[in-house]
Structures are given as structure tokens and as C-alpha cells.
């Protein structure tokens, strides 16, 4: 099969189609894609200008003769008629906005409410519909109301019926028979060409036919009144015709002639009806194509000199089907199988004229008696355009080449320009001026292509970037999630990406504030790029709020390379007060917004007119939990020199400290004089053995142990490094709220606990005048020890045999204290005096509880 390369320009892409139809109207192209829309595409601006939305899917549509109304046949609804805005009026609007105008067609525009209508045609102010009713094909003729009056009443004028016959289709085409039900009848209106209609040009978009053939096919009566003829190809392959503007006739004998007559039977669903091969008096062939590739050509044989009357012959030819759609121009038939677009020349070009003289002779011969159509001698030419689903009427470009408008199944609107036959021959004989023009055109073409290529490259680049980003994000996610998984088992090594937090005090304008310094450490092999955000959620246990409160701080990362650290500072105090302990959750958050290039974001918002933020509204983020830290009193101590203990104000009396304690608990108390006493103290005793193993200081001396324990408590490290502030086992520090406190450790031997003998324990003593500080520190120390106990290996030298009696005493003591506590908490019924007494009692009880003699081993 001969193949021709043609210039294919993709005007637009509409996505995959179900079915398609395309009509060209000047620069505008009307097309439907099988959905419930008809799109009006502007060929010059190359964009969809208007979207006409119907209530149900559009089966077919057509423009009225004056091109100012659009008729659309919708599934189950019937026929709609809507005015189409003129090009000029919509132009000013479109200049401003590039968004296609959407107009919804209401059901009020339905003109024929008949869901059974399968196809229709609008001709000469008459609407012809074809519907299948029971076992009849019913043709109905409606008179269109006058456009100017605005009336919308369609008067039914006539109708006739044709019995449906069961199509005799061979078994192998059974699959097609199912289709043939859904194939709508093909309708065409054919006019006889007359002297005042220009040759070859369609009459208001309807094909013309030379008078002789017209007369032979459709009768003398029709020909005399120049009535157009409606041709209908039914899905069973029968071709029917009836004159549109002819009264019901009777023969001279009074018999009524049937209105509708059968012309031919193609025996396969009819896809297309048209006329072609323009002669002197108009198109000379009636061309009908069946769905399975059968082509019918009707042509006239003129009256012969041998006395033979003029008659017409029908010639059948078969091409490989299935034929999806077809169109004709002056001499060629273009048809699309689903695989390819083909052109079939209908006139014999093989007898190409060698001289102008003989050409004229051939032309004359052709015009008097056309030869048998060339379809027998020539095979179709492949145009190398695949999957064309719909074709509009071909038009001739100013340059003289044929231009087809096709809609492919993949939804592309293609402008196919066929090469001119004379291109090759005329190439060598180009005049110099034409050469210049030609070069110019070519350069222009190259420029266009380069522009397109670079824009596509750019697009590709953007997409690649996005993909790379996404890949990176997933890598990071994977790393962190893996680490979490390992956490469940045992996590020996440090997590690849982690966040540490240290509390620092800073004094600004004589005001102390506690600053949390978080350090994001990236030990992984992928860098954290822009788009990541470090979120730190600070969860403080404000006691007077039931569930505490949390504040989230977000820090957008610029770039954190492998091995780099990022330090961020954030305040911990709320309104100058710090509520410890503070729980800190760290997250790494990636917003999907960052995936898109800003340019693309702008583009997206233009196209879809929904802001991208709405697209990613709910889950536009990837959130990865890093670590959770807890800051307690110990972390927030300001270490002072131990000798400055003297600075610890001694004048603070119990009364004052109680007051402070109470005020810190946000309870209002009346000022009452209380007896003065020294600083309060609590003691926590931990067995030395436990500490030695827990802090991995085996066999160290007592002094070292004490210092180490203190370091471990205050700096969370037990290493014997050079920590300046701690040289001896006493640490004086200022806690939040400038509460002084003293921590001291010493190793003592306790007897009576262990049944085997004495037990050496490390006594951690916390002293402070402030009960708040005391409590906080006590709690913090216990927490640390708890954590140590959890981490400590289970086997540390066998169970220590404990003396039960001591334990019992201790428990009994605790129980009695608890009982007192319970008693004092009974609702007071004796008024205010009792309350004061109780407060002091409670405080005493509390201190006793703190002096727990129990040892943690």
C-alpha cells in the first residue's frame, strides 16, 4: 500500500473518547466527545472557547442552515436546539479570559421530546428525524419555527414508516450485529446541482449531484421541482430516499406512489453518504460506504448514440473495514479504519495526460461519459494517521492542498494537510522569489518546532525535578520509618536523623528566660532539602489545665546536608513562667506543595481554576516523627559554685517557702505566720552497685561515683570528662523561677536492709527552700533513676537478699503516712481555722513522705 506523509498538526487534546463528531464552521470547530458536552473550539486561537453542557450524553449534533442554531441529539432526551453565539460577539470576551465559557443547556431547550430519535437532519427549514418504533423505522418531518419570531413549536408535518427487516448477516459478523443496533441511521440531503450553484461546492453544507444522475436516481418529478432528496442509510444496509418538497403523487391511473423508496441495499450498516468526482455539471458519483468496507458508487451513463437510454449503474467495491468515518472531496474519498486513515482516488489518474491537448480530450471524454471509477484499478493511499474517529468536511487551503480535520480516538483534534500532488514536480521549477519564500517558511517552521521542543524540554525538566524531589522525600521517609522499626527491637546505633534538645538560660534585659535549643542532626546519607520543615511540639504540663497545653514551632529548612547540624532555639516559658517537666515532640514535615515548581503551580491554577491548595487541602503533608524529649527540673538548673551555697538566701522561712509553694500551685492562701526552719530536703537512696553497672563505672571510688552520679543527673552524662562546674559531689543551682537548690551525693552504708550484711548506697539529697523546686527535682531524680532501671541490664550480681522486717517497717511507715494523708483530705466541716491547721499538717506529711528511707537497688 502506498504511503503518503502528510503534515499533521495537533490542535488540541481532549483525552480518550467514546465516540466523536466534528463539524467545521468557519474558524470554529464544533465537536462532541461522546460525553454530555459539545465543545466549540476556535481554530485560530487553538483553544476551546465554549463548552455546551447537556443533560445527557450527546449522540449527534448539527448546525442549522443559517449556522446560528445548534441542534443536538441527546441520549434518552430527544433533540435540543440552542442558539449559537456569533464569533464576533464572543470575541471581545474571550480576549480577556482564557477559560472556556461553560453554558449549561437546560431541558427547556428540548424541541423534540422523543428519546427514540436515532438521527436527524435539518434542511430547508425542515427537521427530519428517524426513530425506531416497534418494528418500524419512522421518519418524521417537522417544520422549524421562524427564527425571528422566537417561537419554539415544531409542527409535525408528515411522517412515514419503513418496516424493519431482520438483517441477514453472516454468522462471522455476529459481533457486528450487536453494534448495528447501536449504529444510528446515516442521513444525508442531496441537492441537484443547477447552473447557479458553483461546481463542486455543497449547497448550505449539503452535497450536490449532477442533474442527470439525480433524475435517474430520484425520479423525474423530484428533478422537475428541484426538490432536495433525503437519503437514509439504515443500519441494516438499506438505502431509502424521499423527496423533501414534493406533495404526495398519484400516477395517471390514480394509484398513489409511495413516498419513500428503496434505492439500494448495501447489506451492512451505512457509515457515510456523499457525492464526489466533480464534473461539468456537478458531482458525478453518489458514494455510500458501509461499515464493513463496502463502497457503493452510483453513476449515470448518458444517452448513447446507439439509441440506448440514459441509465445509472451501481458499482460495488470493497475495501478493508471497519470504516469508522469517511468524507469526500472533489475527487477522493477519505475513510478511516480504526487503524489508519486512507485516501481513495475515485477518478482515474493513471491515464495521466502527456500533453495539454490530450488532457483536454481526456477531460472532454470524462465529462461526457465517465469511465468506470478508479477504485477498481487503484488501491487506497495510506495517510499514516491512526485512530481517527471522526472527520469534518475537507477544505482546500489557500495554497491549494486538501486539509482534513480529524478527531482521533485518543481525543486529539488533528489538522491533516495532504501533500499536493504537484509538490515534487514543481519543486525543481521554483522561481527564485518562491525559493526565498520557501526558505522563509521552512525557517519559520523550524523555529516553531524548536520553540515547541524547548517548551517541552522545560516541561520535562520540571517533571523530572518533581520526581527527584518525591524520590528523595520517600528516601527520607524510609530511613526514618526503618529506624522506628528498629527501635522496637534494639537500637544500638544512633538514628540517622535525630533531634536533641538542651535547655539554656538566657538573660535578656534582666529577665531570665529558659531557651530550648534543639539540634537537628543529619547523619544519614541524604540531605534534607528545601521543603522540609522541622516541627517542634512543646507539651507542657500546666497543672491547672487538665490536659496541659502544647505549642508547635515550625522551622522551614533551607538545606541540611549529610553530617550537618541545625540548631534552633525556642522559648520554653509561657508568660515568664515555666512549667516543668516539658515534653517535646519533634517532627519532620514535608509539604507536597514544594513538589511543584512555582511556575507549574501558576499553570495549574490557570487550567483548573481550582487553587492547588484545595487540591492538597487535607493531606498535603508527609509528617515523620523523630524523637520525643522530656525536659525536667534537672535539665533546667543553672549550676552555681558549691561554695556559693552561702548565697542561697537563708532568710527564706518555711512560712515563706510554703507560701511560695502554695502560690506556685495557684491556690490563694491568707498570709499566716509560720514557724521558721531550715531548707527542706529529700533523700533518694540508690544502691551503689546499681549505679556502678547502670552508669558503667565498675569499681570506681566513692568520690568518683558520687561526682559521676551528680554529673549524670545534671548533665545526663556520667563520663569523667572535664565538667567544670562539678568538682565535688555538691551542686548548687538555680532552678526556674530563681529557686535555689542544692544537690549533694554521698555514699553511705545502710544496715538492716540486706540480710547478708550492710548495703552501700548512694544518697542523693535535694535541698531547697522552695517546695516547688524540691518537688520538681525529686521527681526528676526519680524519673532518671526509673529510666536507668529500665535501661540497666537485668543481671547485676544476683538478687540481693533483703531483710523482710525492714521492708515491712518501711511499708508500715508509708501506710501510716498515707492514712494521715487520707484523714486530712476528708472534707472539712469545721470552717477556716481547721483549714489552716490542715495546710501545715499536710505540708508536714508531705515532707515525711519525702524522707522515705527506702533504697532503690
Amino acid at each position: 500500500m502506498e504511503t503518503v506523509r502528510c503534515f499533521v498538526d495537533c490542535l488540541a487534546d481532549f483525552g480518550d473518547l467514546l465516540s466523536a463528531k466534528v463539524i467545521r464552521n468557519g474558524t470554529e470547530v464544533f465537536l462532541s466527545t461522546g460525553a454530555s458536552d459539545v465543545l466549540v473550539f476556535n481554530g485560530q486561537e487553538k483553544r476551546v472557547k465554549t463548552v455546551l453542557h447537556f443533560c445527557s450524553s450527546v449522540k449527534s449534533f448539527a448546525l442549522s442552515n443559517d449556522r446560528c442554531r445548534l441542534y443536538a441529539l441527546c441520549e434518552n432526551d430527544g433533540l435540543y436546539c440552542i442558539p449559537v453565539a456569533l464569533e464576533s460577539s464572543s470575541h471581545s470576551l474571550s480576549a480577556k479570559c482564557h477559560i472556556p465559557a461553560l453554558s449549561t443547556v437546560s431541558k427547556d431547550s428540548t424541541v423534540i421530546k422523543d428519546g427514540k430519535v436515532q438521527s436527524f437532519i435539518v434542511v430547508e427549514g425542515i427537521l427530519v428525524t428517524v426513530s425506531m418504533q416497534e418494528s418500524f423505522w419512522t421518519f418524521e418531518l417537522y417544520e422549524l419555527p421562524d427564527c425571528s419570531e422566537g417561537a419554539m413549536v415544531y409542527q409535525r408535518r408528515a411522517g412515514f414508516q419503513v418496516q424493519v427487516v431482520a438483517a441477514r448477516i453472516p454468522q462471522k459478523h455476529m459481533a457486528d450485529t450487536v453494534d448495528s443496533k447501536s449504529i444510528a441511521p446515516a442521513l444525508a440531503c442531496i441537492y441537484p446541482s443547477s447552473d447557479n450553484t458553483p461546481n463542486g461546492q455543497a449547497h448550505l453544507g449539503h452535497p450536490l449531484l449532477e442533474p442527470l444522475l439525480f433524475r435517474l436516481l430520484f425520479g423525474v418529478d423530484t428533478s422537475l421541482v428541484h426538490s432536495p432528496v433525503i437519503l437514509c442509510g439504515l443500519p441494516d444496509g438499506r438505502l431509502f430516499f424521499f423527496p423533501l418538497l414534493l406533495p404526495m403523487l398519484t400516477s395517471s391511473r390514480g394509484e398513489q406512489k409511495p413516498q419513500i423508496k428503496m434505492l439500494y441495499s448495501l447489506e451492512q450498516p451505512v457509515t457515510f453518504i456523499g457525492t464526489s468526482v466533480t464534473g461539468e455539471k456537478g458531482p458525478q458519483y453518489l458514494v455510500v460506504i458501509g461499515q464493513r468496507g463496502r463502497i457503493l458508487i452510483a453513476m449515470a451513463n448518458q444517452e448513447g448514440s446507439d439509441g440506448k437510454a440514459a441509465d445509472c449503474s451501481f458499482i460495488e467495491h470493497t475495501v478493508q473495514g471497519p470504516v469508522e468515518c469517511a468524507c469526500v472531496d472533489g475527487e477522493r474519498l477519505y475513510y478511516s479504519t480504526s487503524a489508519n486513515l486512507l485516501a481513495l482516488s475515485l477518478i482515474n489518474t493513471s491515464a495521466s495526460p502527456s500533453s495539454p491537448l490530450s488532457a483536454a480530450a481526456v477531460g472532454a471524454a470524462l465529462s461526457t461519459r465517465p469511465k468506470r471509477p478508479a477504485v477498481f484499478s487503484q488501491s487506497a493511499v495510506c495517510l499514516s494517521v491512526c485512530r481517527v474517529a471522526a472527520l469534518a468536511e475537507p477544505c482546500i487551503t489557500p495554497a491549494g492542498s486538501v486539509e482534513l480535520l480529524a478527531l482521533s480516538l485518543s481525543g486529539k483534534l488533528l489538522q491533516v494537510t495532504l501533500p499536493q500532488a504537484s509538490d515534487k514536480e514543481s519543486l525543481s521549477r521554483l522561481v527564485s522569489s518562491q525559493v526565498g519564500q520557501r526558505v522563509n517558511d521552512l525557517m519559520g517552521g523550524i523555529g516553531n518546532i524548536w520553540e515547541r521542543a524547548s517548551s517541552m524540554k522545560h516541561q520535562l525538566q520540571l517533571k523530572n525535578n518533581t520526581l527527584r524531589c518525591l524520590n528523595h522525600v520517600f528516601n527520607v521517609c524510609h530511613l526514618i520509618l526503618n529506624c522506628h522499626k528498629n527501635d522496637q527491637e534494639v537500637c544500638e546505633r544512633k538514628p540517622p536523623i535525630s533531634c536533641r534538645g538542651v535547655a539554656n538560660w538566657s538573660t535578656l534585659l534582666q529577665k531570665d528566660s529558659l531557651i530550648l535549643t534543639c539540634i537537628l542532626e543529619n547523619l544519614s546519607d541524604c540531605a534534607l532539602h528545601q521543603g522540609w520543615t522541622l516541627c517542634i511540639e512543646v507539651y507542657s504540663s500546666r497543672s491547672h489545665i487538665a490536659d496541659g497545653s502544647s505549642t508547635t514551632y515550625s522551622f522551614a529548612l533551607k538545606k541540611v546536608d549529610c553530617g550537618e547540624k541545625l540548631e534552633v532555639n525556642l522559648p520554653l516559658d509561657i508568660d515568664g513562667e515555666v512549667f516543668l517537666p516539658v515534653k517535646i515532640n519533634c517532627y519532620l514535615v514535608y509539604s507536597l506543595h514544594s513538589l511543584f515548581h512555582p511556575e507549574e503551580l501558576g499553570h495549574l491554577s490557570v487550567v483548573s481554576d481550582i487553587p492547588i491548595s484545595q487540591l492538597l487541602r487535607d493531606n498535603g503533608c508527609i509528617s515523620l516523627a523523630l524523637n520525643t524529649l522530656t525536659l525536667d527540673w534537672l535539665d533546667c538548673l543553672r549550676i552555681a559554685e558549691p561554695n556559693s551555697y552561702a548565697d542561697v538566701p537563708k532568710q527564706l522561712t518555711t512560712w515563706e517557702s510554703t507560701h511560695k509553694f502554695l502560690s506556685s500551685k495557684q491556690t490563694r492562701t491568707q498570709l499566716q505566720s509560720m514557724s521558721k526552719a531550715g531548707p527542706h530536703a529529700v533523700v533518694v537512696r540508690i544502691s551503689s552497685e546499681l549505679l556502678r553497672t547502670g552508669l558503667s563505672l565498675p569499681g570506681c571510688s566513692t568520690a568518683v561515683l558520687c561526682i559521676s552520679v551528680l554529673k549524670w543527673l545534671v548533665f545526663r552524662t556520667s563520663e569523667t570528662g572535664d565538667y567544670k562546674p562539678i568538682q565535688n559531689p555538691v551542686v548548687c543551682a538555680l532552678g526556674p523561677g530563681r529557686h535555689e537548690a542544692r544537690l549533694l551525693t554521698k555514699e553511705v552504708t545502710v544496715s538492716g536492709i540486706n540480710s547478708k550484711g550492710d548495703l552501700s548506697v548512694v544518697e542523693v539529697q535535694v535541698e531547697s527552700f522552695s517546695v516547688e523546686a524540691l518537688c520538681g527535682l525529686h521527681h526528676a531524680v526519680l524519673r532518671r533513676v526509673q529510666a536507668l532501671l529500665k535501661e540497666a541490664p537485668v543481671t547485676h550480681g544476683g538478687p540481693v537478699s533483703l531483710r523482710g522486717q525492714h521492708l515491712t517497717e518501711a511499708v508500715q511507715h508509708a501506710e501510716s503516712l498515707y492514712k494521715d494523708l487520707q484523714d486530712s483530705r476528708t472534707p472539712d466541716t469545721f470552717g477556716g481555722v481547721m483549714k489552716i491547721r490542715k495546710t501545715s499538717e499536710l505540708f508536714q506529711l508531705y515532707l515525711q513522705l519525702r524522707e522515705n528511707p527506702l533504697v532503690i537497688i
Binding site: 433524475r215 435517474l216 423525474v220 414534493l246 403523487l249 391511473r253 390514480g254 434505492l263 440514459a310 441509465d311
Partner: protein, 622 residues
Amino acid sequence: MSVTSCLAERWIEESNTIIKKWKENEKLRGQLQDIKHCYAQCLKLHQKIQGVPAVRQQVELEFAVSYNTLLFSLTNSKPNEVNDRLTCCLIRALEAVGFPVHCSDQVTLWQTVLKTFNGKEHQTCIHKLLLIQWAIWLSQCQFEGILQLLQMINPKITPSGDLLAEIRNLTFSVKDDTSLLVAMAAEDLKGLLHICTFISKGLEKMKTGNYPEALQDFQEAGTLSSPRALLAHVHTLMGLCYAKLGRPQSALQCYRLALEVDFSCQRALYQSALVYKQLGNSHAEIEALRLLHSATLLHPERNSLSEPVPLISPDMLLGSEQMAFISQIPSPVHILHILGHTCVLNDRNSEGAECYLDLLASLQSHSTLHVKHGLPFPRIPMIYLEAAFAMLKAKRFWDGLAICEEVIAKTADLIPERLFLEPPMVTHQLTAPIELSARSLEPDPTKETLDRVLWSGSAYFLQGWAYLQLKDTKAALTNFTRAINQLVKVCFKQKSKPFLFSFFSDQMVMLETLKGQALTGRGLCFVERGQLMGALRDFQLSLQTSPGCSNTEMWLVEILWRLDRKEEAAAMWRQIKKCTDSSTSVDLPLYLQAWQEVAKYHGHSNLHKKMEAFIHSCGTTA
């Protein structure tokens, strides 16, 4: 309960608002859109009311709204839909009074409804809905149902079985409630139904040929008060019955009455034209046709948008089929053709020519869709030939020639050199498969080809005649010869001729007549040119093909006389005298009928004298 009554008040108010608005619109313009609008509103209200369970207290309101809605829906929906809606209303009414019924049969349902509501305060409301049922059944021509329905409410009288008698005896009250407005008073609807049922029944009888009884029905219908258009139809139908009963004068009287009542009653005008034709009053016939034609042009569509549309039109009640019968008139082109034909036949030549020109113009114009039902229309070439003939009669020879040329151009090349006429069965078997095309286009291709021969022959013949009138004997001779050449292309074996006549009777007669007349025409040309031998041959041939044409015979005698073959002339003369003039009764086309008068031998009396004298002298000499 208070809520429902409160709602009821609001609904009553809403209903009344809709109806008031409709009444205003009806007075102002009464357009279809208004009906649709009111219908939509009524339907909404109706749905609202049906949204609450049916209760006895609401029955009256519900019935009133249902009645209004159904009235509107009669014009807007199909009868079956209205019927379904009515059934729903009835079932709901029964539910309201605690008689739930589930039966689909309309008659049984009505029986139950009437029994349940008998003697109660809602009876009048029920009767209103009954009128709607009557209207639905009337539009579907279900007289049996109407009869049963009416018998149910006329229980006192013994059922007569005659619907019309039942209607006459109908005595039920349909008084309207003043608090609840209705779109159309029930009394009016009842009157309209009454008259329409009579008309419909009369039409049924007419269709079965029972004209006297039909006439009675129509007469009774005519006594009732009714809208103008309907009354005019009644008069027209009465006229039709009279015409069928052979009383043309009475028929004319009726048609006149109809036109007096409603001038736009075109059927009456058309029918009177037919009666005038029957009576031979061609002048009146032409006048009537002319009026009819101008009327059809002025009112192409009776129900045009500018005219007010009544809520319930008689057209709707009578059903489209009946209505089509009542107001059936030919399309404008038909009327124009009949008018032209009549004019030409009655020697009103210039009028006839104008009519034919108008006719051709309207056939050619692409703006009109010719209604494809109703009366048949002759073949277009025949119209052209008649038009050409009319032109010739009106002495517009060149126009006539041009029209003939058109026919020749369309037909001459489709005629084969030889057309063998054979009985159709044989023809089909013998045709080669190549000629499948010709066969598939025409059910009987031979007949069609024969027609074409006749058309082109006639066209040449008329052209020859035109040239003869123009004294261009040479051209006339050519055309008559062409006509003869066309006609002799038809061949048949002599022995199968009678057999063929049974198949192509009209065409064969026409072919022979035309051939004879063309030969006569050519003979006349020869006479004019003084070629008497040629004339003699043609006249003889003419008489051979179509014997009995007195004109030709006269001419033959004359030519024989001029050729000095007096004996033969005398013998011929005697023969003519002997056989009385027996003109062929076959329905010939206009141009062949009238031709006989045109080609008349004018020197009849002169020849008569000459021949009598010669015979006498011969007799004396003998």
C-alpha cells in the same frame, strides 16, 4: 388537625391565586405558554396536597385542585397519563373516607366511588372528576366506557343502551363552589362534552355509511350552544351528510351557514366548491376555490400562536383523527391545481394560466413543506404539461414552449430506442441483472418508462401545436414528427395487444389518442403547407390509430375532396353520417380533452353543403 386546616387554608388561597391569574391571562391572550405555566403551578400544588395523608376534611379541596390540574393536563399530557392521574385521585379519595381500594379497572373504580360518595356532600366534586373521565374517553373514542359511566349516575331510568339518549337524560348537578375557583366551570365543560360526544358519535356513523342517523346526531348537536368554530364544523358535517344523501342544495345551505358562523371554516368552502362542480356551476366553483386558496394562504396554520387557545378545545376532545377528518382540506398547491384545471376547462384562459404559473412557482419554491397526507396530487410532469397547455390557450406560446422544453429535457434522454411492452411478469424475468438499478428504483419500470414516453410525446405535441398557432409550420411539423417518433418507440406484438390493454389500459388509450392527434396535427401542418398527399396520409394513419375522431374524419373528407377524389370523400362522409358520434369515455388528460375543441374543423357547414350537394348529384347521376 389544626395544622392541616391551616395548610388547607393556604392551599385554597394558592389554588385560587393560580386560577385567578389564569383567568386574567385567558382574557388577555390565552396562549399555550400560559396554560403550561399554570399547569406546572397546579401540578406543584397538587403534589403538595398529596404529600399529606388523605383525610375526609380535605376531600373537597383536593377534588377541586385535582379537577383544575387535570383540566390543564388534558391539553398538556397524553390521555393515558391523565387517566392514570385521575385514577390516583379517585383511589386517594376513597382512602380519605376509609375505603381503600386496589383495582385498576376504571369502570369498577368509578362504581365504587359513586357508591361511596352517593348522597354525600362531595357528590358534586365527584361529578366534576367524572367529566374529566368523560373527556379522556371521548378523546380516545371509548364510547362504551362513557355509556357505562353515565348509566351509573342515571340509575333511575332503565338503561337504554344508547349513549346519546343517556346524555339527553343526564341530570346531575355540577354546581361550582364559590370559595374554590376552578379553571373552567363544570357546567361549561359538561356542555362541551355533550356536543362533542354527539359529533363524535355522528362521525362514527358517517364512517360506516349511516348518513341519515349521522345527520340526526349533527342536527341535534347544532341545536346546542357551542363555540363558533365547532358549530361551523357541525354545519359542515351536516352538509356532508346531505351531499351524500343526494341533496346538494341542502348541503350548500349548510355550508353557507357554516361559513356565516365561522368564516375560517375552510372545509365548508371546499365542500361547496365540490357541490358546485357537481351541479355544473363552474363560475361559483371557481369563486369558491379562489376564496379557499386565499384563505389557506392567509391562515396557513389555524392554531397559530397569535390566536388565543381555549383551555379545553373541541379539537382535543374529538381526538386528532376525528379532527383531521372534519377539517380535512387539500393543501394550497392542490387547491391551486384544481382551480387552474377548472379555469382552463371553462375557458377562463388567462386566469388558468396565472394559476398554473403560481402553482409551478410554489412547487419550485424551497420554503414550503407540502403536507404529505390527504389528497393525492398528479405527477409533476403532468402538471407541467397542463401548465404548458394553459399557456397555449392563453396565447402565451413562448411560455408554453419553454415549459414543454423543461419536460422534454427531463424525460427524453431516459427513453430507449425501443420500448417493448410485455406483461409485467414476463418483463421481470427477462431483464438482465445489469438493469437491476432501474428495477430497484421503480416498482414497475415499464410503466414508468411508458409514462416518460407519453410525457415527452405530449410535450413535443404541445410544442408542435404552439408553432402551428404561431404559423411556423416548419417548426410545427418538426415537433409533431418528434412527438410521433417518441410515441412509435413503444412496440408490442399485435396479438398481445388486448392483453396489454388490461395492464396498461389508461396509458395505452392515451398513447393511441396522442398518436392519432399528433398525426392529425402533422396533417394540419401539411394542409397549411399545401402538401395534401402528406396530409392525406397522416389523417388516414391518425384514424387508423384512434378511430372515431370526428374532426380528423372531417379533415380527411376535405382533403379527399380537394384532391378531387370525390367518390372516396362521399363514401367517407356517408360512413361518418352512419355511425353516431361515440366519444371515448376514458379519463384523458386536460390537454388531450381540450385539444379536440381546438383542432376543430371549422368549415363544417361548408363541407356539409358541398358533400350533400355532391351525394345528391351522384345520386341523381346514378
